[in-house]
């Protein structure tokens, strides 16, 4: 447990920076929704959402400071989700 507690304290400046970044990205999402980019709409929305969730997972959820095993577990889950979404596009894009 002691090892777990060490090195996990994240200073306020970092937390606030991440919070501001999330707010800015939210603003970008709203702004991007006003412009019609055609087929790129979905990629822009998913791209911004991915960056935001990465920030939350890495910093707020401390995944950046975890052991590699847990990081690999998380990446497997994310990769699976990406494949699930990606493979449905073999259908949707070519219909």
């Amino acid at each position: 447990m002691s090892e777990h507690d060490k090195g996990h304290i994240i200073g306020y400046p970092v937390l606030i920076a991440v919070w501001l970044a999330l707010l800015i990205l939210t603003a970008i999402t709203v702004a991007a929704a006003q412009i019609d980019l055609g087929e790129l709409n979905i990629w822009v929305a998913l791209g911004i959402a991915s960056v935001k969730s990465s920030l939350v997972i890495a910093v707020f959820m401390h995944m950046k400071y975890e052991k590699p095993l847990f990081q690999v577990f998380l990446l497997v889950a994310l990769l699976t989700l990406a494949i699930f979404i990606g493979f449905t596009f073999f259908d949707v894009l070519y219909r």
């Binding site: 699976t80 699930f84 493979f87 259908d91 070519y94």
Partner: protein
């Protein structure tokens, strides 16, 4: 070793955690008690499912309306599917035998999160209860089939919302069990229990747990979307509102095809553990079997589109999913070839667990090869939604997972009761079942080839003969099942005593625990010095 495994009274049965009666079970966090609760619940639901299956066959004994009629027939096959899939096959081997056996196989006292394990069982019990309640409340039993396809499932007046909610809860039971097993295998292995010394049953549970954790949430989300569609009309699957009905099929099969591997992988693990013991030979290609479990779990998660070849999905997707489907055949075939190679020049004993395991290999192979016919779009268009599909998945699921469940029951269960069944009767029961099974499902495959569609209560007269044969065979199969269960259950309570290691297994559940196992399995932490199939090094031999 002998002092470690000495029989001491009734093992874990003597230790009920200070509780008595029902409370000693439903509040117990002992993996063995939880496993037994799963086992008995699953067997009861299986028998209910069998009765519904017999009703379906009765309706189909001859053309025309016989016993059920259209609406009740639809409700009956839906119920048969939901009970068999969600209450029997999915939890069957992993929840019941996984709980009973896996912690002992890796030398652990229990699973990593015993309370969460109990919570999983409660979720299972609550989900099962809600599923049963959905039959008798609101609009009556759901009539959508177990797949709940839109748009019918969002419009039918039957009680789909509650049934879907029940499946949602059952899904959580699976996710929690999966997380628990993953953590247990990673964290609680005994000293010396390296990854290449894990019994193959544990390997298969490990691969299954990944699928449970990664795929089941998709089902949960999909079912929530159906409820949202029914209750507030979100229009997600309705083209009139910009939705897409085929998207439902994607979401449903993203879970439900991997679920097929949740059903079959642990069953393959059972077979990989049983065959070496009764062939008296180390398993052929240990690493290939272990890795093929992971390969099946990974590749099997990418093939869901092969359920949708005729749905109007794009040709590109048909091509991709068909190719990926054929890839899954490779690790499946690796397993079959390794089992057969293990038998080669073995000293084979045809005890009941082995006979059930060998029939798994045959029936699974027949079903698996039928899967290739369905995985090729050209032939699939011809047999899609016909009785060929029904025959195919009964060969894989019942002939495969069902027979593996029975093999596991004959192999491991006496260990936990300290008493055993009559072997001769078990073989007679197997014979009845094997004959009944093949004459029930092989005609279905032929009928499907001839074009008989599934999910109808009626058919044209030219299909009458084979349907009559299938219905009569269903009675033979049911007789075999009754004989098998009666024999095993009588044996568990009244049969001859079962020794510590009568089969001569070399994994920890046979070499390092008493019969029945103690509360925390071992008197002292076992130190593992050899692989699970090194019979010579373990110095074991069958003692009856």
């Amino acid at each position: 070793m002998s002092d470690v495994t000495a029989t001491s009274g009734r093992g874990f049965w003597d230790n009920s955690g200070g509780r008595s009666g029902l409370a000693a079970w439903i509040f117990s966090t002992d993996h063995k008690r939880i496993g037994l609760m799963y086992f008995w619940s699953i067997v009861i639901f299986f028998l209910v499912g069998v009765m519904l299956g017999l009703l379906i066959r009765l309706e189909l004994i001859a053309p025309g309306v016989n016993f059920l009629g259209a609406q009740r027939y639809n409700a009956t096959f839906t119920l048969h599917g939901v009970i068999m899939i969600f209450l029997f096959i999915i939890p069957g081997v992993p929840a019941a035998f996984g709980n009973l056996v896996m912690p002992i196989q890796i030398g652990a006292e229990d699973v990593a999160f015993p309370r969460l394990n109990l919570a999983s069982f409660w979720f299972y019990a609550i989900g099962a209860t809600l599923a049963l309640v959905s039959l008798f409340t609101a609009g009556g039993a759901p009539d959508t089939g177990w797949t709940f396809y839109v748009p019918f499932s969002t419009r039918t007046t039957t009680n789909v919302s509650l049934a879907v909610f029940a499946v949602f809860i059952l899904g959580f039971s699976g996710i929690l069990t999966g997380m628990n097993f993953l953590t247990t295998v990673h964290r609680l292995r005994a000293p010396g229990m390296t990854w290449t010394r894990l019994p193959l049953f544990t390997w298969s549970l490990y691969a299954t747990a990944w699928v449970q954790v990664l795929a089941t949430p998709v089902l949960a989300i999909t079912l929530v979307l159906i409820m949202a569609e029914r209750l507030v009309g979100t229009g997600l699957f309705d083209p009139a509102s910009g939705g897409d009905p085929i998207m439902y099929q994607h979401l449903f099969w993203i879970y439900s095809h991997p679920a097929v591997y949740i059903m079959i992988l642990p069953a393959m693990g059972v077979i990989s553990d049983i065959i070496p013991v009764f062939a008296r030979k180390p398993v052929f290609g240990y690493k290939a079997i272990a890795i093929s479990s992971i390969a099946i779990a990974a590749a099997g998660s990418l093939v869901w589109g092969h359920h949708m070849f005729t749905s109007g999905m794009s040709d590109m997707a048909v091509l991709v999913f068909s190719l990926l489907t054929f890839i899954v055949a490779i690790p499946s075939a690796i397993k079959v070839f390794n089992w057969v190679s293990t038998l080669y020049k073995g000293s084979i004993r045809l005890d009941p667990p082995m006979v059930y395991a060998l029939s798994f290999v045959l029936l699974f192979s027949i079903g698996g090869l039928g899967g290739l016919i369905l995985g090729a779009p050209g032939t699939d268009v011809h047999v899609h939604d016909t009785y060929f599909v029904v025959g195919h998945f009964h060969y894989v699921m019942f002939g495969g997972t069902g027979f593996a469940f029975f093999a596991a029951m004959h192999y491991w269960l006496p260990k936990y009761y300290g008493r055993t069944y009559n072997k001769k009767v078990a073989l007679w029961a197997w014979g009845l079942m094997f004959i009944g099974f093949n004459f029930l499902y092989m005609p279905m495959q032929i009928l499907g080839m001839q074009g008989m569609p599934r999910r109808y209560y009626d058919y044209v007269p030219k299909f009458a003969d084979l349907n009559l044969l299938a219905t009569i065979s269903s009675w033979v199969l049911a007789a075999g099942l009754l004989l098998m269960f009666a024999n095993v259950f009588y044996g568990l309570f009244r049969g001859k005593p079962f020794g510590t290691n009568p089969w001569g297994g070399a994994s920890l559940e046979w070499t390092a625990t008493a019969t029945p196992p103690l509360l925390e399995n071992f008197t002292e932490e076992p130190i593992v010095t050899h692989g699970p199939y090194d019979f010579k090094q373990a110095g074991v031999r069958a003692d009856d």
